[in-house]
């Protein structure tokens, strides 16, 4: 379904983007990669995962991983507000949620308005997470590359964080079993 939407856009000379706020910045994701936008609901935390993995939610019976985008980009955490939303994105067949401060609007831009990402964007955000920069009147929108947010390498990185960061005793070592005589 999402792919179809993508195809239609290519025919026209316009790209539709869902824009959202994170701190002082405005980001956007290609509409084709957005499955839906939901309000914050009870998120079940999953221990021993990278800290930006907030947990899982029940999205109509489907267990969906939710990541905190502020933590993902090493921004300061803030109190969640009524404005906070979870954007459910799709990469391939994999679905995941992203907590953002607020969703602002769906914008239509011409592909010409999208410039390649500069080397240094902000202190926190690596340019590899970006597809490009959209220059709008009075606003600069960073177009996110969803694939890299949860790419294989990223996940491998996350795994390492989860494995070594926990300081756990519960490593899969030999079982200890002492019998007393």
């Amino acid at each position: 379904m999402a792919k179809d939407r993508g195809k239609i856009e290519l025919k026209g000379d316009e790209v539709q983007l869902v824009s959202f706020i994170l701190g002082d910045e405005t980001f956007a994701i290609d509409v084709a990669q957005v499955h839906e936008i939901v309000r914050l609901e009870k998120i079940t935390t999953v221990p021993r995962m990278a800290d930006f993995i907030e947990g899982v939610v029940n999205l109509r019976g489907q267990i969906t991983t939710v990541i905190d985008m502020r933590k993902r980009f090493s921004m300061d955490s803030i109190e969640r507000s009524v404005q906070s939303r979870i954007i459910i994105g799709e990469v391939g067949s994999f679905q995941f949620g992203m907590i953002v401060d607020a969703v602002s609007e769906v914008i239509r831009v011409s592909p010409d308005d999208i410039a390649p990402p500069p080397e240094i964007v902000t202190n926190n955000i690596d340019s590899s997470y970006l597809k490009g920069i959209c220059k709008l009147p009075g606003n600069l929108v960073m177009l996110l590359n969803l694939d890299s947010i949860l790419s294989e390498e990223e996940i491998a990185q996350i795994d390492k964080v989860a494995d070594f960061g926990g300081g756990a005793v519960a490593s899969p070592s030999m079982p200890v079993k002492i019998k007393e005589d």
Partner: protein, 648 residues
């Protein structure tokens, strides 16, 4: 009659019969004197012949018919049992398989002419030895009962009507002289002449098929007429080269007998039915949804404290449980469904590769979900092919290495808790890890630097990357470097794992571990911090309250004594949140067990037992060794299912 409706069950049955025949042939190949196997084979092919005839699959009928002839002669020792005969029979089974596949795919049917002439040759050459020219015929003359059994319903109806009308109905067997060059031409003449005096209800074989079989000189017709037997025979003898005519009148009595036979068959056929797997899937999903719904209703009811409601709900719960039990039961099939296909496959591949291989199958009775079994079939074939092609060495190489001449491949299934584990091990040459690593570097799958940093297991897992192969030669079945990566991603997508262990010169063992698709399990719900977690009940040995004094620290580990056993103790608060649960009243611990290792887990609270629907988790969560999945609780929130294996 809508034939296509019956074809579906015919195909299903026929495929089972093919598998059975392959199995029996393998037995016969090893033991030519096994009369039981021979009799079983005969019975199976006879059934196939019958059903294919009913549905009008004449090609299948012809081939099975000839195979039956051959078997009959083998059974009566008219023909010696030799490898040649076995090979022809194998070929016959293959041809039948193609034909049945053609029926399934509604493709144009083959005649299997090559096979038919081979089968005929095997029959004829023996016949010549006995110098009995009269039996030099490819076609069996069926008796009346068989032919009536083969009739299509509308033909049966016509026949019944004709008998009722008082017509002379008879089965006429016409044998054409063996010098005749064009049997079908003579048949055409006879058919044409007879039509003037009555109606041909059925001919065997069909008119178009007469003469197609090499050496076939006879055909049979069911004819109804107002003339008498002699008059009709005269008509037939007008056609040249007719050697003999046998007429057998059909009266109502024999017809009735057949009807009775058919009736008793229908009754026994009602014990099992074939159901589309998709329907079973849908049913299972519905049961799952229903259970979640039930949990919700129960929670609401617990707030109302209405006794009648509780009683009614209890009954409803029990019914749902039963329903779930039966639905799961319906989906379970023994793993043998796939295993039994392998002996034949391995035999053929071993023969092609000039290798001797013993295939040992173990645990075929382990039952698993039908859907899952279908999913893993191809992967097992891949792994077996790898073992045959790259694992087992040719006989001479094995002798040189001081091994048994014949290699052994062991395919074994067993259960580990709810997991299903399938091992495929061979006693072949093992995997050369260095060569594998080199191949992966050459392919660009891994950099030299990264490869150096890898341990043996990590290097072995390079095998699962696309395009990596150590095979020097590409054979038709494997070596192209596709396969293992497909296996790996397939098993992964099912939530399972693949492991390799190899010992150069001694062999390789691949282990597939599959999660239960038992979508519904019993679990103990516990609290840790603010969250609810589920522990699969099959891992829970008991729950205990322990005092602080019972806990001792050995090295970095907490241990405690349960009766005469010292168990490691993990505080899940500490493990999951980094906070400790040490209050004075004592500690709630769950003793869990996996692979016969027991540990204690300290939790905040026990909530209770409940049936939960296991949901898979996506992507990176699946990599977590602490959780095997998640479930949705009655209030709609998610609870992670703890994988006890992380602690044992």
């Amino acid at each position: 009659m809508n034939i296509s409706k019956y074809n579906e069950s015919f195909i299903g049955e026929a495929n089972e019969q093919l598998t059975e025949m392959n199995k029996l042939l393998l037995i016969l190949e090893k033991d030519h004197k096994n009369i039981d196997a021979l009799n079983d084979f005969f019975r199976v092919i006879h059934t196939l012949k019958g059903t294919s005839a009913i549905l009008g699959h004449m090609e299948i009928q012809n081939v099975s018919h000839l195979m039956e002839d051959l078997l009959d002669k083998l059974r009566s020792k008219e023909i010696d049992f030799n490898q040649e005969n076995i090979d022809i029979l194998f070929e016959g089974v293959d041809t039948l398989e193609t034909m049945i596949d053609n029926v399934a795919k509604e493709k144009k049917q083959i005649h299997g002419k090559e096979l038919i002439s081979k089968l005929n040759a095997s029959l004829i050459s023996e016949a010549e030895k006995t110098a009995d020219k009269e039996s030099n015929t490819a076609d069996e003359i069926l008796d009346l009962k068989d032919i009536i059994f083969m009739l299509k319903p509308e033909e049966k109806k016509t026949l019944g009507a004709e008998i009722k009308k008082g017509s002379n109905t008879s089965l006429i067997t016409i044998i054409i002289d063996e010098k005749c060059k064009l049997v079908e031409g003579r048949a055409h003449q006879i058919f044409r002449d007879l039509k003037e005096f009555g109606s041909i209800i059925r001919s065997v074989p069909d008119k178009e098929e007469i003469g197609i079989l090499e050496g076939s000189r006879s055909f049979q017709i069911i004819f109804s007429t107002s003339k008498n037997e002699e008059e009709i025979e005269d008509v037939i003898y007008q056609t040249p080269e007719v050697n003999n005519i046998i007429s057998e009148p059909i009266d109502s009595l024999s017809n009735q007998k057949v009807e009775e036979n058919n009736r008793s068959k229908t009754i026994s056929a009602g014990e099992t039915i074939r159901v589309n797997v998709q329907l079973l899937d849908a049913l299972l999903n519905l049961v799952g949804e229903n259970m979640i719904n039930n949990i919700q209703i129960n929670q609401i009811a617990s707030q109302h404290k209405n006794k009648n409601l509780d009683v009614a709900l209890k009954a409803s719960n029990r019914l749902t449980e039963d329903l779930q039990h039966y639905v799961l039961q319906m989906r379970m099939v023994p793993i043998d469904h796939i295993f039994r296909l392998f002996p034949r496959m391995v035999r053929d591949m071993a023969k092609d590769g000039d290798k001797e291989i013993n295939l040992v199958l173990e645990g075929g009775d382990i039952e698993m979900d039908r859907g899952l079994l279908d999913e893993i079939g191809d992967s097992l074939v891949h792994l077996l092919r790898n073992a045959i092609d790259h694992g087992i060495e040719p006989s001479d190489a094995r002798m040189k290495a001081g091994k048994e001449k014949a290699g052994t491949i062991r395919l074994s299934a067993h259960r580990d808790q709810s997991y299903i584990v399938i091992d495929i091990s061979d006693d072949g040459k093992g995997i050369d890890v260095d060569r594998l690593t080199k191949a992966a570097i050459e392919k660009g799958n891994v950099s030299e630097k990264d490869a150096e940093a890898m341990n043996v297991d990590e290097r072995l897992s390079l095998m699962f990357l696309p395009g990596v192969t150590t095979a020097k030669e590409i054979t038709d079945i494997s070596g192209r470097g596709v396969g293992l990566d497909v296996v790996y991603s397939k098993i992964n997508s099912l939530g399972g794992t693949v492991n390799i262990k190899t010992d150069v010169g001694k062999g390789t063992k691949m282990t597939i571990k599959l999660p239960p698709t038992m979508a519904i399990i019993k679990a103990l719900l516990i609290n840790i911090g603010d969250e609810t977690y589920a522990l699969p009940l099959e891992n829970v040995a008991e729950t205990v309250l322990i005092n602080h004094e019972m806990v001792h620290t050995v090295g970095k580990r907490d241990m405690f004594k349960l009766r005469d056993e010292i168990l490691p103790l993990f505080d899940l608060n500490n493990e999951f949140i980094g906070a400790s649960t040490r209050d004075d009243s004592g500690l709630s611990a769950v003793i869990v067990e996996k692979d016969s290792t027991r540990v204690g887990l300290i939790v905040n609270d026990f909530i209770g037992q409940q049936e939960i629907v296991v949901k898979t988790v996506g992507g990176e969560l699946r990599r977590s060794k602490y959780f095997s999945g998640a479930t949705i609780l009655g209030d709609g929130s998610v609870a992670m299912i703890i994988d006890v294996g992380a602690f044992t």
